[in-house]
Symmetry: C2
Subunit: 200 residues, 2 copies
Amino acid sequence: MDRPDRTGGGAGAPVRGREATRERILASAKVLFTSEGYGAVSSRKIASHAGVNVALINRYFGSKAGLLTEILREDGVFPRLIEEGPPEGLTERLAEHSVSRLHGEGSPLQLSLDDSAGDPDLQAVYQGRLKSALIEPLAAYLGGRDARVHASLVAAVLMGVGRVRRVEGATALRAHDREQLKERVLALLELCLKDFDPPE
Amino acid sequence: MDRPDRTGGGAGAPVRGREATRERILASAKVLFTSEGYGAVSSRKIASHAGVNVALINRYFGSKAGLLTEILREDGVFPRLIEEGPPEGLTERLAEHSVSRLHGEGSPLQLSLDDSAGDPDLQAVYQGRLKSALIEPLAAYLGGRDARVHASLVAAVLMGVGRVRRVEGATALRAHDREQLKERVLALLELCLKDFDPPE
DNA sequence: TTTGACAGGTCAACAGCGTTTACATATACC
DNA sequence: GGTATATGTAAACGCTGTTGACCTGTCAAA
């Protein structure tokens, strides 16, 4: 038998062991990040909630940011949107996604992290993900000479809407007719994708 | 004489007094923020550079974020763009501004703060400024029923481009033909401003 | 059964942060 | 001259993420 449960499964005592501990930390971090935001939750708070020593966070995830990265890694939204339906409906899915986030839809964790998006750690992690999870797959999907420019512009519009939401609550945008707004965002996205130098 | 120089102007000893100290702190903060970014510069570092006690930062500016706010207050870019020329050229000025920032033009302080834009303090201050320095004046300028929606969308595009620049270096965007890019951004901005429910 | 190795967990400390409080000093006014 | 009031100082507070030394329980080989 290779690695039986060290604790013998006895109830009462917390489950020990590498995987169990990692999972406990991850679970607690998700719960706390969701309810309080990233910046407001300290390492010690996570450890305490997980019933685990603070040092173990760094042992298993390298740092608090590493823990966050691990949590976000399982949560790739944009690639899913890209592959999720027919190519010709992509811009509409992106627009719908954008507007729905604007209206506060999405997983509680996502929404909460949106609110903490100002944090340097989160920003750094997001930076990596924006590139690897949106711009690059989108450019690859688009193909063509200016694929990366188009993809970057799309990213700009999507990020911009998200940012305005966080920054000013986007009260005006949310108060506006949702369908009209979606149409407008859709038009913006398609304008982003239009070829340069139209053949004339 | 109301408030002669308390120090008698003697050389050697650092100049004391409310205004002098405030200015010294402001000047040092600008220098350091410019060369190292906001997050990388601690209160103690600023104070040390200014030859001033740490506590005076909080005394005169309330907090480190307050100091930043004061620095940014004198630096209202968007309102200037709005009033700076004829209304019909506004979108073009905004587009030009956006693209030039993309190419790393602008005051060193602005560029540096752009890079630190992830910091929660800076984010908070920017949030206030985005509203008061772009969305609100722009909405007021535009007038009309959906003015705030249009202004928010414009803000979204501008912020989005800025964000993509920070997030992925916008290598693709920068490599692209500048004039073409400006035209594209201009088109996006004008699409943002187009009336909803076009009369048909 | 004894011994050694080692993964897993604990604890206390580190250096840094922004901020606050109590105190000292220098200036201005009566 | 004496006193109120700006201004500046020093030291601490509580917090953060992180680290290194140490303990402990389990397993494998001798």
